[in-house]
Amino acid sequence: MKWRTPHFFFAAVWLALLSLPVVPGAFASGSNVQLSIAFSPGGALDAVARTLAREAEKELGAKVIVQNVPGGGGMTGVARLAQSKPDGSRLTACVTNALIFIPFRNNAPYDPLKDVEPLLVFGQASPVLVTRPDAPWKDMDAFLAATREKGGDMRIGVPGLGTPSHIALAVMAANDPSLKWRFVPFGGPGEAEAALLGGHLDAAASGALPRIKNGQLLPLMVLAGTNLPALPNVPSLTDKGFSDPGRGDSSFILLAPAKTPEKTLEKISRAFEKAAESEAYRKTLEGFSVAPVLKNRQEAREFLSQAWQEEGNILKAAGIADMPAASPKKGTAGAILPKEE
């Protein structure tokens, strides 16, 4: 029972098979831009960067493909960008902590001022410390009292070690020896919120205003120096007498690899700038505790080098830059990564 198979049939199967790897290539080719978000889905940066990408698509006339590259409080995303081809096809959206805080602490495999090119600052996060509505503490004073009582057994979920919310809380703990927390790092604020609601944490840093407003999460304190207009009754760090750690590290920033051709950079940054001014983008921002701070390319670069200086001074003054914590020691293999030319 042998089937007779004509030659053209063989040829057809051959050709069909050969075209397999070409299919994704054809889809992916062209002037597409790949935008990596340095945190896992479900947080403020993820949501606003996705809207920004959708709006920028219209300006660029090319597809902006969004993917999530969580890890290391944003470091993984930036490290990947620093190693990728500088042709304008790869961008990363991250929080400035990956540029001006983490390199002070960890041996980051990139130079934040030389290996990446800032394109746009598109928001400034003021994370909010939240807890479950059924938790025994209803405000920050009760929470602090409980913290002191339990002596370091309280768990706070943060969207990665070295993220703005973690830094703000760590500075609080560093300045007041009676405060001690266990920081549990997640890939993004969304994961931390889920763990909080499941009772695996005592508090978490979040920025999702709708969930706070509809009562799913109870706000305790804004982890920034100033109050949020959206949550006027929630105290800020200064209200509670804690020092403002400086907010240079909590801006959302769009990065390209250094050495990308000037023309491409100009084109992309202008498209994203337009996108950040759009109505849809402003609407998305309202859902999160993110201030609508906009800085164009020139301003972003100045801001970055200035914030680098300031952050260094603040951290050294607070003793954070050398604070022993859950983070691994310096001198890990990161430094041996050569830069791609």
Binding site: W14, L17, R155, L161, P328
Partner: protein, 462 residues
């Protein structure tokens, strides 16, 4: 079940899913996925994990729902392809098609090839539909139990799942444990998932992002299967004399398919090598309750319908642990898990609530994909039969080329093909030692997650 229906999120969710799938492009992609899956399932020497790895780059450019639906279509399409080769040629493409072979091949030898294929198609359709509907009813229950799993629970669950895989995969427990260990070690180089520092790269910047999943899959399964087929002498087909085949009783075959579906659905929910267990269990069950156990092994229709239904039901049900717990049950699911992370879908118990469009859309796609599978299977039966007879010497150069180009695309550079070849050789070596590469790939994918949850647990308690 009343509770499930009373849940308002179920209805709104299904509606959202319906709205999400109202696009022609999506259906064409699902169709393409199912067709490709059937093709790679039928063709010798090129399995679905390798095909999955090849199409992986599509994830970056398609909508999340389209991409995942297409890749899922590839997955269950390939199951059907495995049944075709088992029945017609007595070659099971995958382990879970072995039980199909017991009854299907004698039937084909007895001159009932066409009828056997049709029965197998209907049976797997029954299993698929049954399990997809089960997923619909299960979602509200599971998403309510949702938040129960914290970091510690997840870490424990993943450890347990890996152990289960070790206990059930072919090659024995000790070998599988070694494979799991090797997979976990392979997951270490690159950037640490929590701290972001790079480790164990030995100074190779190519390793700074770790071992590439695409290269690993294409090497282990693509090149590995290819080399195994080339190196092993061609098997002698046992040309038994045409035996007397029992007549087909449609009702009893259908009942067997229903029993198989239930069995498959329940086994599929457990995160371990589900398909194999389900199909063998169903075959054993049918033999046990049959009035004519002597027919089994000589072309009993119930013994064909039951395992075929249960293996497809298990395939569908294994989407539940993947989507709701982030636990893959086989290498293909492991690749899907990687794809989910990239497209911004967080697998977890909260998925039906947080991304209802995606969750319900995918289930609707699974349901409809089974209908497409039925249509393609019955309509193109002759085509699949011919495809199964393509000589291997015509295929292997294409497969080799495919694996190399695919890994190049996946890794975006020459490090892909290099890794792919290394893993291909490793795979042959491992197979020679009687080890199955599946636990290795599962452990590789679960490794970073296990590490993250373990670290979170340690940081919250110690």
């Amino acid at each position: 079940m009343d509770a499930a229906f009373a849940d308002p999120s179920l209805f709104s969710g299904v509606l959202a899913g319906m709205a999400a799938v109202a696009s022609l492009k999506l259906w064409l992609l699902v169709l393409a996925g199912v067709f490709l899956g059937m093709t790679v399932g039928v063709l010798p020497g090129f399995g679905p994990p390798a095909a999955m790895a090849l199409l992986f780059p599509l994830v970056y450019v398609l909508e999340p729902l389209s991409a995942i639906s297409m890749l899922s279509g590839l997955f269950y399409g390939a199951k059907y392809g495995g049944a075709v080769t088992s029945i017609l040629m007595g070659i099971p493409g995958e382990a879970d098609a072995v039980a199909t072979l017991f009854e299907g091949h004698p039937l084909a030898l007895g001159g009932k090839a066409r009828q056997a294929l049709a029965t197998a198609t209907f049976a797997s359709f029954t299993g698929g539909i049954f399990a997809s509907l089960g997923m619909v009813l299960l979602a509200p229950v599971l998403s309510r139990a949702a938040l129960f799993f914290g970091p510690a629970g997840r870490a424990a669950f993943m450890g347990g799942a890996l152990l289960l895989v070790a206990l059930t995969s072919p090659g024995g427990v000790r070998r599988s444990l070694c494979m799991i260990f090797l997979g976990l070690v392979l997951a270490i180089p690159g950037m640490a998932p929590v701290y972001g520092t790079s480790r164990l790269t030995f100074g190779f910047w190519q390793l700074s992002e770790g071992v590439e999943l695409t290269s690993l899959l294409l090497g282990m399964f693509g090149i590995g299967d290819l080399l195994a087929a080339l190196l092993s002498p061609p098997e002698k087909k046992n040309a038994d004399a045409a035996c007397l085949v029992p007549p087909l009783n449609r009702l009893s075959a259908f009942m067997a398919a229903l029993r198989g579906s239930l069995l498959g659905f329940l086994t599929g929910l457990v995160p371990c090598g589900a398909g194999v267990t389900a199909s063998f269990a169903s075959h054993a069950l049918e033999k046990r309750i049959s009035h004519h156990p002597e027919q089994f092994g000589r072309g009993a229709w119930e013994g064909l319908a039951g395992p075929e239904a249960s293996n497809n039901a298990a395939a569908m049900a294994s989407f539940a642990p993947l989507l709701l717990l982030g636990l893959p049950t086989n290498p293909i699911m492991a690749a899907l898990l990687g794809a989910l992370t990239i497209v911004g879908v967080v697998p977890g118990p909260a998925l039906p609530e947080s991304q209802p469009d995606f969750y319900w859309g995918l289930i609707v796609c699974l349901l409809m994909g089974n209908v497409l599978l039925l249509a393609l299977g019955l309509g193109l039966a002759g085509f699949w039969a011919r495809l199964a007879c393509l000589p291997f010497r015509l295929l292997w150069p294409v497969i080799l080329l495919l694996c190399l180009t695919g890994s190049y695309v996946g890794a975006d550079g020459m490090s892909g093909p290099v890794q792919c070849l290394i893993f291909g050789l490793l795979s042959v070596l491992l197979r020679r030692c009687g080890c199955s590469p599946a636990p290795l790939v599962l452990a590789f994918v679960l490794g970073p997650r296990l590490e993250t949850h373990l670290l979170q647990t340690l940081l919250s308690f110690w």
